[in-house]
Amino acid sequence: MRSDFPFFRANPDIVYLDSAATSQKPQCVIDSMVDFMTKRNSNVGRSLYPISSEASALVAEAREKAARFINAKPEEIIFTEGTTQALNMVAASVCGTDAKGNIVITRMEHSSNHAPWLEACRRNGIELRLADVDADGILRAEAVTELIDDETIAVSVTGMSNVTGQVTDIGAICSHARRMGALSVVDAAQLVVHNTVDVRTIGCDFLAFSGHKIYGPMGTGVLFASGDSIGRLKPLTVGGGSVERDYSPKTGIHGFEAGTRNIAAIVALGQTFDYLKSNRNAIKNIEDDLSGYLFEKLSVIDGIRMITKSPSQICSFTTGLLGCYDIGAMLGKFGICIRTGSCCAYSLMDALGVQGVCRASVGPYNTKEEIDIFTERLSWVLRRCGGFR
């Protein structure tokens, strides 16, 4: 599978363990973008000549593939620039000036699922409730559900922590929210690439993810808005293609896709879904194997405090001696790419009592040999700096 990703041929000496930040792209996705821009470039939904119709059909096809990927309907799929934009749209919509009550999020959220709610609640005088994690940084579903009451407007929760790798019990949270009359929103940015996601089983109203974390192009994303809930959404931007002749927003998904989108990237995102569909089992097997190996190898290094508590594609840790900047910069010197810092999860950092973490994350293109290089070099760095004492 590694051979599908040309990045590694171009960078044979790099050990890339930062897929949770962004994934590398398979050749078929790159080819799809180049093919569109080379042979099919034209705008969509506006003109009647053949290549424009063909481009429109390719976007519709990408939408169908996105819908199948999460068991939704095409008319429930809004193309966005990414998870952040999608969650901003949902937060701004449901916390409108007429909204009263409270919003429930958690301490485990990435800034993209914290800041939009904080801002929308501040603007409209709505209470923001924060579900806590336990001493190990684990989020229990009950910590969220006990904050939901009959005045809760919406609950917005990550499906998989970008720091600990914990997969949250979103099904339980969403079904409780529904019983209480609250909307449910899932930040699936990390979840969808590693897990099969079925929005019908989860029972959420909204679910967002980004293309670039699932081996697709940057600047693309998907917002699922269930047929029952799409009427609660308001567009963040209006303009060409999104309004009627009297300038009122179009109904349905097209009211949320104003202006000319990055069509080449959306078409390539469609190709990404094909790639994932064809390789789902192989990806899962490789990632399961690598996750266990990574967790095991990190856990035995002297001086490491594991933030991630069980094997996951995302594995975070701190060291007693060196700060995360030191580790990241030193490993970077040896071509080893990991994420260091707060990982945009400030509230979780506070709960864990740390300034930042070191995070290694794997994709199907990684190998056990790379994990060996990483952990051996990490041990070497810790020993080297320990020697100064």
Binding site: L321, L322, G323, C324, Y325, D326, A329, T340, G356
Partner: protein, 129 residues
């Protein structure tokens, strides 16, 4: 007492004589010797917008600072070595030069611009005492 320039030149010479790994070692060694200053690690002293935590305040003519990074503590150690006991006007007349002697792979641009240069601004903004 040596001048700011003389003291800084000594650090520049040591940093210039070694490779990137040697620069890491030099800064980590200085950082370990300095140690963290837990009392300064409060929100009001925190320098925002930096990839690593830096806290800094002036205590008269003494720089009091801390960081969770040993490399950054090493940089703070140099700042203290060259600027402690000096007046703000003296410090303003001798802006930081030693960062240019350090590889960008050891001290990343954001640490330079949002971290250490911001430290310099706070140091020079303090009142003359």
């Amino acid at each position: 007492m040596s001048s700011i320039r003389e003291k800084e030149d000594l650090h520049i010479r040591r940093l210039s004589e070694t490779d990137e790994l040697g620069q890491f070692d030099y800064l980590v060694d200085l950082g370990l010797s300095l140690g963290r200053d837990g009392e300064t690690e409060v929100e009001e002293n925190r320098i925002e917008g930096c990839r690593t935590a830096i806290w800094l305040k002036m205590d008269g003519r003494t720089v009091r600072a801390s960081s969770d990074s040993l490399v950054v503590l090493g940089l703070i150690s140099i700042l203290k070595d060259i600027y402690d006991g000096r007046s703000p006007s003296e410090i303003r007349a001798n802006p930081i030069r030693f960062l240019d002697a350090i590889s960008v792979h050891v001290v990343y641009p954001e640490i330079r611009e949002n971290g250490i240069r911001r430290c310099f601004e706070i140091i020079t903004a303090s009142k003359e005492v």
